[in-house]
């Protein structure tokens, strides 16, 4: 077990290094002079020159990269040019917000998607199955910004049930926090719910056709026991892996949702940083997201390892 974990962690290191190079390289490919973008409307040459000097923008690219990596290894992700705040502090402040949003979204997706998938598989080719498929297809095909705005108009403007946007920390007021987060979490979960539903359905259909399920039924076991104890346990394994990937996807999907609902998380931070050419923030956020993504996949592998006895053999 320990060897397996150590090997997986070691494999992750070159991935993170590769990601750091790609992140750094890609944003340098962004057209436009960051110093010019940051200098304000006046475009004072003295200000532009100072920005280049202070943020090493006048150095060769490889040197800029080494300076950045050197600082990152010392725990310094740099300073936001726009906000004059350490990127580490921004990441620390924003990460829990996006994590909460993504976790709530995945919870909603699990609570809706998996039962829908089970029902859909068990009641195959019945109106229930068709309805579940329609819901799933809608979840995938409706753009989240549209769904978000429609939900705001319905639940905030017309019904007045929920705040249209904003964020309250759970430590300040848990109920207000949930009120502000429920709509964005639902919007964010729409695609994942549909994916969970589709995957659970197909996995369940495959398992329900297998010999051991037939045997279980032949033994006279009751249907719920067959479905939940025998079929679902096996069918859920690929869904666990998918869940980890989806959690990572949700972190990036939060970019749009946070923008619509004005949730001060990672997504909003990165969008603002990209438009303002705040390179240090972009690099820091993407590096943390990529590291988180790799970590989640590592966790999924470990869960897989625990859930599936064959892996331990």
């Amino acid at each position: 077990m320990l060897t397996y974990i150590v090997r997986r962690i070691l494999i992750s290191i070159p991935t993170i290094v590769f990601v750091s190079i790609v992140v750094f390289g890609l944003q340098l490919l962004l057209p436009g002079d960051p110093a010019l973008a940051l200098a304000g409307e006046e475009r004072d040459p003295a200000v532009i020159a100072e920005l280049r000097r202070v943020y090493h923008l006048d150095e060769p690219i490889w040197k800029q990269y080494l300076i950045w990596v050197g600082n990152v290894l010392q725990g310094d992700l740099g300073e936001s040019i726009r906000l004059k705040l350490p990127v580490g502090d921004l990441v620390t402040a924003k990460l829990p917000v996006t994590m909460q949003l993504a976790s709530m979204a995945i919870l909603i997706a699990i609570c809706i998607g998996i039962p829908m998938g089970i029902i859909s598989a068990v009641k195959k080719e019945t109106p229930l199955d068709y309805a579940a498929n329609v819901v799933a297809l809608s979840g995938i095909s409706v753009p989240s910004f549209w769904l978000g705005i429609m939900m705001i108009l319905l639940f905030s403007v017309h019904l007045g049930w929920l705040p249209a946007s904003g964020f309250v920390k759970p430590t300040e007021s848990l109920s207000q926090n949930l009120q502000t987060m429920i709509m964005p979490a639902f919007v964010l979960s729409s695609v994942t719910t549909a994916i969970f539903m589709r995957h659970t359905r197909s996995a369940m259909l495959a398992v329900l056709r297998s010999d051991y399920v037939r045997t279980a039924r032949a033994k006279g076991l009751r249907e719920p026991r067959v479905i939940f104890r025998h079929a679902l346990r096996n069918a859920i394994i690929p869904v666990v892996t998918l869940g980890a990937i989806q959690l990572g996807e949700l972190m990036s999907g939060a970019v749009l949702t946070e923008q619509i609902f004005t949730i001060p998380g990672f997504g909003k931070l990165i969008v603002d940083a990209v438009f303002n050419r705040d390179y240090a923030v972009v690099q820091g956020v993407v590096l943390c997201t990529a590291t988180g993504f790799i970590f989640l996949n590592l966790c999924a592998d470990l869960i897989y390892f625990l859930v599936n006895p064959r892996m331990r053999g």
Partner: protein, 500 residues
């Protein structure tokens, strides 16, 4: 059921009573650092209106009015200006605001590393404390726009004690002397200010708290106002204006801004200018202008809500040169001018920063110019990239706007002076250079206006930039919000505002 509903209703009543004391303003962006020296965004200036008092302010007619300086006077040679500082003013940390604090603040704006104020007031060569309530600011040469600079961030006075202690981190907890003091900021979520009871004019401010909430999406910002989450929003989208005007549950306020949008022509910047047909002959540029119907652009793209114009200030501005009015569209004359210039179907590329409105305007321009024989190719470029291309001279015509400054010098000099930092087309004219110097050398309105008239005439003839329109600033609010006066600089002044 009753057990649940009654406490909820009571809670609702308490919440609305508390929120009546709080003004919640929806901002179109998240401000950058809240340090008047280091800040650079427009939206940040809105927040500073609550936090930091300035030496001077402007009213809705763009007249200078006292704020921290109660009086000011120019020296006879126009090289220095003396300010009398309001007595008995305190900073939020309880420190006294005096002439020394003013000297310190201007010096900080000039010398702090990374200052964005330096370029605004770099003409200042000395700041002398004459007595505890008097400061004299001196320059090497006359520069009349200086006073206007002190109506904005360069005129904001910071607590020297707090600024020295905080150093470059001052913006994390700014201490000024404004009507509201800083409470907290959650990046990208909210900025909360609380009434400063010891403010010299505290009675004029009706709210106990002001919360600024950045909500980037215009539709969501409006939805928040409609749902009662906000009391007021700035930069209402032009497309929502008609709907808001009809809605009895909302109040609409508008004001023509200080800025402009136009087409800058590359007349002499880099090799691209040499091949630019628009740079070959001023008659081709004049023909392009005559091809355009500014009112139609305004109607089509902005529902007629903006103001058209042909100068660097809108026709409502006291500095607008009335003797050079906006020409009417005249396609026949445009064709004649093209014929006289020896071209019939001039083709050029119009570089347009990405964005719906810019794209729509450029398409209307393209269609109108085509009727005179112009072949306009639209090149959509991301904003930061377009700025870089413009500076390098890698463009033929550039569709670009300017947010505007209180003094017309700020809308003109850097765009038209031979060495101007924003003169992307590298237009250079000795008559203009002389007139610009004249405008700066005197604070006399009539003399300055005469110099601007000369520049307006040159611009109308040489046409290095075709001014198209001036954006209108739109605000929407809860009808109970009273006392808001829209000023052309677009900032939300909290003085006199209250909830009815």
């Amino acid at each position: 059921m009753k057990r649940v509903v009654l406490p909820l209703l009571a809670l609702g009543l308490l919440t609305s009573a508390a929120s009546a004391q709080t003004l919640r303003i929806g901002l179109a962006e998240d401000p950058d650092i809240l340090d008047p020296t280091l800040a650079r965004t427009f939206v940040g200036r809105i927040v500073f209106m609550g936090l930091c008092d300035k030496l001077l302010d402007i009213d809705k007619d763009l007249k200078l009015v006292p704020q921290l300086a109660t009086e000011w006077s120019w020296s006879p040679d126009q090289k220095s200006v003396t300010f009398k500082i309001r007595p008995n003013v305190k900073f939020h940390d309880g420190e006294k605001l005096d002439a020394e604090a003013v000297r310190y603040s201007i010096d900080r704006h000039l010398n702090l590393q990374g200052s964005f104020r330096r370029s605004e007031i770099n003409v200042v060569k000395a700041i002398d404390v004459v007595d505890p309530q008097t400061v004299k600011v001196s320059m090497d040469a006359p520069f009349s726009p200086l006073l206007a600079q002190f109506t904005d961030r360069a005129g904001m006075v910071l607590s020297p004690k707090a600024a020295k202690e905080a150093g470059p981190n001052f913006g994390a907890k700014p201490i000024c002397s404004g009507p509201y003091k800083f409470v907290e900021r959650v990046q990208q979520d909210r900025i909360v200010l609380e009434k400063f009871k010891e403010h010299w004019n505290a009675g004029a401010y009706g709210f106990e708290r002001v919360t600024y909430l950045p909500i980037v999406d215009g539709t969501v910002r409006l939805a928040n106002l409609r749902s009662g989450q906000l009391d007021m929003i700035e930069r209402l989208q032009a497309s929502d204006v008609a709907e808001v005007k009809k809605d009895a549950r909302l109040k609409f306020v508008s004001q023509t801004g200080l800025g402009y949008t136009g087409i800058t022509i590359n007349v002499a910047n880099s090799d691209r200018a040499k091949s630019n047909v628009l740079a070959k002959d001023k008659r081709i540029r004049q023909a392009l202008e005559l091809s355009l119907d500014r009112d139609a652009i305004n109607q089509v793209v902005f529902n007629g809500e903006f103001r058209t114009g042909n100068q660097w200030v809108p026709p409502t501005n006291p500095w607008y040169v009335k003797s050079v009015p906006t020409p009417k569209r005249d396609v026949a004359k445009a064709k004649e001018l093209l014929k006289a210039a020896g071209v019939t179907n001039p083709s050029f590329t119009l570089m347009v920063p990405t964005g719906n409105e810019a794209q729509q305007v450029s398409q209307v321009v393209q269609a109108m110019a085509k009727e005179s024989g112009f072949d306009v190719k639209i090149q959509q470029v991301e904003f930061a990239t377009s700025l870089q291309a413009a500076q390098k001279g890698d463009f033929e015509a550039f569709f670009i706007g300017w947010s505007g400054r209180v003094d017309p010098d700020g809308n003109l000099t850097s765009f038209i002076a031979c060495d101007g930092g924003n003169n992307d087309g590298k237009f250079c004219n000795p008559q203009v250079t002389a007139a610009l110097a004249e405008t700066r050398s005197t604070s006399n309105f009539e003399q300055r206006a005469l110099a601007y008239e000369k520049i307006a005439k040159v611009n109308a003839d040489e046409m290095p930039r075709i001014y198209l329109y001036h954006a209108t600033l739109f605000y929407a609010m809860n009808p109970k919000v009273d006392g808001f006066v829209a000023v052309p600089d677009g900032l939300i002044r909290l003085s006199g505002m209250k909830m009815n």
